[in-house]
């Protein structure tokens, strides 16, 4: 069925679809950048006060404001920044004076590294557990898998993090509880360092994907063609693998992408507990300092991640399900 669908959907149609989605995504990004900028303007307090803290004198505040160009109107600052982004220059951080592109690169790489390894474990594990749950649906295996996965998701991230640290870092000292990574760290050490945060993230996202896989396949299992497949004598796993799974792939891709996005943009708590130098902590630091250029840059990257993962999910779902490719 999957193969048939691909043949029937004309290539030009898919290309048009991709172009359409990507340009919509870019428009959405611009809108998001305006929203983020407006949001940072509404926040109370200003950059100079936030940088110098309580020990700031009125003179030093005025000097810093002047130096940072905070006296220009908001829209001028916005377009100045937007012009930079288009030419690949994210500007310098107001607070530390460091080049944003350079400092974000390392952070983004760290975040992607952690998200990648968490996903490598979590996605197949969730899908396989989902398939097993469907195979033994309503039996004790299904209930056990669902119960454990739901429990691990229901616990707050910091609780899971602390439990992992308590057993694996403090009590048995197998893995480090502090996951500081740095440039030039050997791969093996790096993997060891991210073991606990990756495990915590896996536990957090597992249930959502697993339950969705289970629900989507169970939905398809009601269909007539599944019954036909069963009647012609295929084994239960073969039915799921050959007939149910390909037709349930669209919602599964959607939920996987949603969770991948979460692994990249939503891991502040895990980063703080394990002291992992990723994007989340970087963003929070700069929000509290009212460092608008950095907040904008990080916000834009997060928005881009979300939007592009959603585009991928959409396109993949349409390709997988030819009916969606021919809207009436």
């Amino acid at each position: 069925m999957l193969a048939d669908g691909l043949i029937r959907a004309p290539m030009s149609h898919i290309v048009r679809l991709i172009v359409q989605r990507v340009s919509l995504g870019v428009l959405l990004l611009v809108a998001v950048s305006v929203l983020i900028f407006a949001g940072t303007q509404i926040l109370p307090g200003d950059v100079a006060q936030a940088i110098l803290g309580q020990s700031a004198t009125p003179e030093s505040l005025a000097n810093l404001r002047e130096q940072l160009g905070l006296n220009d109107p908001a829209f001028i600052r916005y377009f100045r920044w937007l012009g930079g982004v288009v030419t690949g220059d994210l500007g310098t951080a107001m607070s530390s004076g460091q080049d944003i592109a350079t400092s974000i690169k390392g952070r983004l790489w760290n975040t992607l590294f952690l998200a990648f390894w968490a996903a490598v474990v979590a996605v197949p594990l969730a899908i396989i557990l989902g398939l097993i749950a469907v195979r033994y649906r309503n039996g004790w295996v299904d209930k056990l898998i669902s119960g454990l996965a739901l429990a691990s998701t229901s616990f707050p991230e910091f609780f899971i993090g602390y439990v992992l640290v308590y057993f694996f870092a403090v009590k048995y000292q197998i893995f480090p509880g502090i996951s500081t990574v740095y440039d030039g760290m050997p791969f093996g050490e790096r993997m060891q360092a991210i073991m606990l945060p990756a495990a915590a993230l896996t536990l957090v996202v597992l249930a959502h994907m697993m339950r969705m896989t289970r629900a989507a396949i169970l939905n398809v299992m009601q269909s007539a063609y599944v019954e036909t497949a069963e009647l012609k004598g295929l084994s239960a796993f073969a039915v799921i693998r050959r007939h149910a799974f390909p037709n349930a792939i669209a919602p599964i891709i959607n939920v996987v992408m949603l969770n991948l996005a979460y692994l990249i943009v939503g891991v502040v708590v895990v980063e703080v507990i394990f002291v992992y130098p990723g994007m989340g902590q970087y963003l929070v630091d700069h929000v509290t300092k009212r460092d608008v250029p950095v907040v904008q840059a990080v916000g834009l990257i997060f928005a881009a991640v979300y939007i592009s993962l959603n585009i991928i999910a959409d396109i993949a779902a349409i390709v997988a399900n030819p009916r969606l490719g021919h809207p009436k």
Partner: protein, 528 residues
């Protein structure tokens, strides 16, 4: 007996007696094993510093927005600054002034002109020799009106600066007998050419050279081979500061041996941490304190009877017990405690007195509720403290409304703007500096809008007074004025709580966390 024990413990330290033998003999002398063990630890310390190793600290207060420019130092870059930075003068762990880059400090008779003679042959990390010109350039950068230095307030009294051979000559506008203490401010790191070329490059003449600078993640240094005082500081081969802003993660990092010392242990968990073997908790009293600020120029706080009523309605002991869990001392409504030189220790302690509070409240003629603003970020436990205060005020017949403000922007929107709110101070080096920062009528951070001619005059007099006894008396009078007429309710002085692995030797002393804000990294060593 103690002599014999002392002798025996030194024997163990020197390797002439086994630990087991020592404990046996100590028990024979009627000493508990715990005490004997602590004796041993002390003897090992007394054996002196050990060189080598990497001292690691898990430190709270780091952010990716921070920079190594000393003018913008806050807690964490400040702690790292004590590793790589060198100062003109510094405080010793027992609170005395110590000459660092200044070899001699002298002044004219009227303490208006101060001379700091700069030590010869001290090298910066970049190989350049430290000169009087570098010192002058540093002080000029921090006192420049265009500067964004947080030390600008200190420098405001400086009229002119000049280098004269090896001497740095500072001429003041108003005499100040305690100027050298002001030079211990942690922002005043001496940098080549005053740091004008690149203030954030992290070059000074301290015991460690900056090797790693990833703000908000970690900082690292390696021993500077040409450090001028290698026998006193900088014993480890390397220091590493890992930013751990989560209190629980700090403790687990220390427990699992990933770091050797941490700061800011939460008072509520101290008792649990104490039970962990192989580490010790160090609570240090310092000048830091928590305040409830009433603005003396705004109704209803412009009435001293009302202010007095609110001061008397504060149950200080309850605050220390419940908010600080005992890790602190009660305050007496003036910002000075025993950690300051010339502390006036004979001023009567104000206590919780609902009857007197009622009396003053009635006399003030005020009616209706009073609004107190607070936020979690104003000090640890501030919101709880405000609620406790609400209860104790109720006992005195005063109705208090507590409003929780957002943490974000609190210091910009509420502190120093609204008439009644909570806040904290980390304190200053000397009394006159603390008063000049927040109580002098013309000070920008005079958060209580306190204006008292007599007080302002006493401050000028105290600064110029050379005789310590007389100065102490002047400080005493100032304290009483602030205590009885000021707008500050000061219920408690908080302690700094560090936790240290038993692998660390030489730890102790100082007025702030990690030995006066970070000297632990350069004054301590790793025992084998």
């Amino acid at each position: 007996m103690s002599q014999e024990l002392g002798y025996l413990s030194r024997c163990v330290a020197a390797g002439r007696l086994s630990r087991r033998e020592f404990l046996g003999r100590a028990t024979a002398l009627g000493v508990s094993a715990t005490f004997a063990n602590s004796l041993l630890a002390r003897a090992a310390q007394a054996e002196g510093p050990v060189r080598g190793g990497i001292i690691k600290g898990g430190i709270d207060g780091g952010g990716s927005t921070q920079s190594l420019d000393p003018a913008t130092f806050v807690t964490l870059p400040g702690i790292f600054g004590k590793c790589w930075g060198e100062y003109l003068v510094a405080l010793t762990p027992d609170g005395h002034l110590e000459n660092r880059l200044a070899e001699e400090v002298g002044s004219s008779d009227d303490v208006k002109i101060w001379t700091f003679k700069i030590r010869q042959d001290v090298e910066f990390h970049n190989g350049k020799t430290v000169t009087a010109e570098d010192v002058v350039a540093t002080l000029e950068r921090h006192s420049d009106e265009k500067s964004k230095s947080a030390a600008l307030g200190i420098m405001r009294n400086i009229k002119s600066l000049k280098a004269d051979g090896r001497d740095v000559v500072i001429t003041l506008k108003e005499p100040d007998a305690e100027l050298p203490f002001l030079m211990t401010d942690y922002h005043l790191v001496i940098q080549p050419n005053g740091g004008r070329d690149n203030p954030a490059e992290g070059i000074s003449a301290g015991p460690y050279k900056v090797t790693v600078n990833e703000p908000g993640v970690r900082h690292g240094g390696e021993r500077f081979a040409n450090f001028w005082q290698a026998d006193k500081m900088g014993f480890a081969d390397q220091v590493e500061i890992i930013v751990i802003n989560d209190a629980t993660s700090r403790i687990s990092a220390l427990q699992s041996g990933q770091v050797h010392m941490i700061n800011k242990v939460e008072p509520k968990v101290v008792d649990f941490v104490k039970r962990v073997p192989n580490l010790k908790v160090e609570a240090v009293s310092g000048p830091g304190h928590y305040v409830f600020i009433m603005r003396c120029d705004s109704a209803p706080f412009d009435n001293n009877d009302l202010r007095m009523a609110l001061k008397l309605a504060m149950d200080r002991q309850e605050m220390v017990d419940k908010i600080l869990h005992g890790y602190g001392t009660v305050g007496n409504d003036f910002p000075i405690n025993a950690s300051y030189p010339l502390f006036p220790d004979d001023i009567e302690q104000r206590t919780f007195d609902p009857d007197q509070a009622k009396h003053h409240y009635k006399k003030s003629g005020h009616s209706g509720s009073i609004l107190l603003r607070t936020a979690y970020s104003s000090f640890p436990g501030a919101v709880d403290a405000a609620q406790l205060y609400q209860q104790s005020c109720a006992k005195a017949g005063i109705t208090l409304d507590v409003k929780r403000e957002p943490d974000d922007g609190y210091s910009a929107e509420v502190w120093n703007k609204k008439p009644f709110c909570t806040s904290f101070w980390s304190g200053r080096a000397i009394q006159s500096q603390m008063y000049a920062t927040a109580y002098l009528s013309t000070a920008p951070w005079n958060e209580t809008r306190f204006s008292n001619e007599r007080f302002d005059k006493l401050l000028t007099e105290a600064r110029a007074e050379l005789d310590e006894n007389k100065r102490k008396n002047l400080y005493r009078e100032m304290a009483i004025i602030v205590r009885d007429e000021g707008g500050t309710i000061l219920p408690m002085f908080n302690q700094f709580i560090d936790a240290i692995s038993d692998k660390i030797g030489g730890y102790g002393g100082g007025r702030g966390e990690l030995m006066d804000g970070g000297y632990a990294f350069s004054r301590c060593w790793l025992t084998a």
